[in-house]
């Protein structure tokens, strides 16, 4: 039993099922991020938690009481919308206290709560303005103020930063994270931005096509993605995927492929599982993140297993802090993350170090990770 429980929840519009049996338990104080491409059902799920959409089947509980059929205002939740949804005819102060007023809170208490929130978010000087007179970032703060003032059990955020410019988005991201650390509230946060998901969350639910693909901590999601979708959706640049053949040799298991000169490569897999050994002779997909594919000097010194190959550099992309180097392994374009001052140029041969501790293997048929 979590603080917020989503049990076998489905959602259908007419005959079309857009969410399929979602199960998520959120603990008190957690920051859960729902992430996935547009149209995967994130907002629908959030709206069902808020009570703005009906639950087709299954149930949602907050603090152990079933919320199905409970009016949004009686769920003790607050929501921040993508468009901020500030009431245009009211001042900032009225926007913030409207919910309290509707709940019959007496005026002196409302004023005090408003003052507290305004101080917390540093919007005291804006209280008498109308939303139309505010900048994007200020509106964002007011929208958060309106949510905070209610002191809800659960905060719901639907892509709250996607209308801000890049710099402001990063600033507000940090601010939301600070706010969460300070207040320790339970948050469900929707975004399509995987970096936002990684930086903010304590846990992530990666969604696609109405299914929760994987639920886990950012590290679990990043290091051990459950399937190819999660592997490619999370992380930038995207995980390198190489077609290899499994070869079992005694206690060792190798991934066989070719370099770009057609020479056979044999990469020993790290701590192979029994499940993987069963794939002897079969084709699988080897997943290596670009930071696990580096120059030899840049390889993780703590890794107990690094394999080095020689291959041709096709493209280099200096990115300031790192240089991204492209090369072709097993017919697949791979991106390696090398040190910024690494000395390679296109057309040259170079050494590439695979950190095999971080490599994962996928079954091409089911697209799931072979554990």
């Amino acid at each position: 039993m979590g603080f917020l429980d989503i049990n076998n929840v489905t959602k259908s519009y007419g005959t079309v099922e857009v969410l399929h049996r979602v199960n998520i338990a959120v603990e008190e104080g957690e920051f859960l991020v729902l992430v996935g491409p547009s149209g995967c059902g994130k907002s629908t799920l959030l709206n069902m938690i808020a009570g703005l959409e009906e639950i087709t089947s299954g149930d949602i509980r907050i603090k152990d009481s079933v919320m199905n059929g409970v009016h949004p205002s009686n769920r003790n939740i607050a929501m921040v919308f993508q468009s901020y949804a500030l009431y245009p005819n009211m001042t900032v102060g009225q926007n913030i206290t409207f919910g309290l007023e509707m709940h019959g809170v007496p005026k002196p208490e409302r004023e005090k709560a408003m003052a507290d929130v305004a101080r917390l978010l540093q919007i005291e000087q804006l209280l008498d303005r109308k939303p139309g007179q505010l900048s994007g970032g200020q509106r964002q703060r007011v929208a958060m103020g309106r949510a905070l003032v209610r002191n809800p059990d659960v905060f719901l955020f639907d892509e709250p930063l996607s209308n801000l410019d890049a710099k402001l988005r990063v600033d507000m991201r940090t601010e939301i994270k600070k706010l969460h650390q300070k207040l320790g509230t339970t948050i469900v946060y929707v975004t399509h931005d995987q970096i936002e998901a990684m930086t903010l969350s304590t846990r992530i639910a990666v969604m696609n096509g109405g299914y929760v693909q994987q639920l886990g901590t950012p590290k679990e999601i990043y290091d051990t993605p459950a399937n190819l979708f999660v592997a490619t959706f999370m992380g930038s640049p995207s995980m390198n995927l190489i077609n290899v053949t499994v070869q079992v040799d005694g206690n060792s298991v190798y991934a066989k492929t070719q370099n770009d000169q057609g020479k056979d490569l044999r990469l020993a897999l790290y701590e192979p599982s029994e499940a993987l050994k069963a794939f002897d002779g079969k084709d699988v997909i080897l997943g290596v993140r670009s930071e696990a594919l580096t120059d030899v000097e840049g390889a993780d010194q703590r890794s107990s297993h690094v394999e080095v190959i020689r291959n041709t550099v096709t493209v280099t992309e200096p990115a300031g802090s790192d240089t991204f180097v492209a090369t072709t392994v097993g017919g697949a374009e791979c991106v390696a993350r090398m040190r910024a001052d690494t000395d390679v140029s296109p057309g040259q041969q170079a050494e590439f170090a695979f950190n095999m501790e971080k490599a994962v293997v996928f079954d091409p048929e089911t697209e799931n990770r072979i554990q």
Partner: protein, 293 residues
């Protein structure tokens, strides 16, 4: 070369513009002509008109025709002037406009923010009602008014105009509210506002332009209606338009054209006034509705 060509461009620009303005001014004069005739002749003694001076300015200025049209002229059989009928019209048009606009606003709110199965069909049917010719409903409407005991009363006329008006007012508000962000309604729901609180506190304060459009439209149509007035409320309860007709028709002996002109202006005055006061918002509101909706 470049200078020469730009010079001619400016010249032709000026020439076309002058031409356009001249044509427009002619149109305006042509449009204003009837008003001029009415105004001028309403302040002349009858003799000047029958003497053949329709277009000329009055030689002996008099407000006598206005006073007569307002308070003593023969309407039907009674020498009451238009005054009582003016108040009839006011007491018909004000409730009819208020009720049909309110209902339209509520309908628009429900049709866009509280969607339900079949709502588009319902809206289609309401739109359809805008295009039913008045003549078709005359007899059924008379029967219904009779059953309700409202025949010949101002209340009956109000009902008729509300029923007819609600199609248009719903159309206006639906299109306006369709562009109103639904997230605001959802935010208000989470804040704990009820159905009417959301309408009253969130939507209505942002509905100024469309309310103006709707009020002008309804006011003009209802005030100017003749058919329903003549059919359902002849006699003492008749509205201004019907009374004006009676004034013009019932004059025995000489036709007092100056009184007729004054009466016609009196009948047109309220709609003119509404346009002058709120016309700016009318255009703005129409634009807002059409561009966003």
């Amino acid at each position: 070369m470049a200078i020469a060509s730009s010079d001619t461009a400016i010249r032709t620009g000026r020439f076309t513009r002058t031409l356009i303005y001249v044509v427009l001014i002619l149109f305006v004069l042509f449009y204003m002509l009837p008003l001029y005739v009415m105004l001028v002749n309403s302040v002349k003694p009858l003799g000047e008109i029958t003497g053949g001076g329709m277009m000329s300015l009055p030689t002996a200025f008099t407000l006598e025709p206005w006073a007569k049209a307002w308070s003593t002229a023969q309407i039907g059989v009674e020498p009451t002037g238009l005054q009582p009928y003016f108040w009839n019209s006011i007491s018909m048009v004000v409730p009819a406009v208020v009720i049909s606009t309110t209902l339209g606003a509520l309908n628009g709110y429900i049709l866009t923010k509280w969607r339900f199965r079949g709502d588009t069909i319902l809206f289609g049917l309401m739109l359809f009602s805008c295009f039913i010719p008045f003549q078709i409903v005359l007899i059924p409407m008379a029967a219904i008014l009779g059953k309700l005991g409202l025949s010949g009363s101002t209340a009956g006329l109000v009902l008729v105009h509300v029923v007819y008006g609600v199609g248009f007012s719903t159309l206006y508000f639906r299109n306006y509210y369709a562009a109103f962000p639904t997230e605001l309604v959802r935010a208000a729901q989470i804040d704990g506002a009820g159905f009417f609180q959301i309408f009253w506190r969130i939507l209505l304060p942002s509905s100024g332009p469309i309310i103006v459009v709707c009020v002008i439209w309804q006011f003009t149509n209802i005030w100017n209606d003749f058919l329903f007035g003549a059919s359902f409320a002849s006699g003492d309860g008749a509205p201004m338009t019907v009374a004006l007709n009676n004034l013009v028709q019932s004059s025995t002996g000489v036709k007092e054209y100056n009184v007729h002109f004054a009466g016609a202006i009196l009948a047109a005055m309220p709609t003119l006034l509404v346009y002058i006061v709120a016309g700016r918002y009318f255009v703005r509101g129409l634009m807002a509705g059409s561009v966003k909706g």
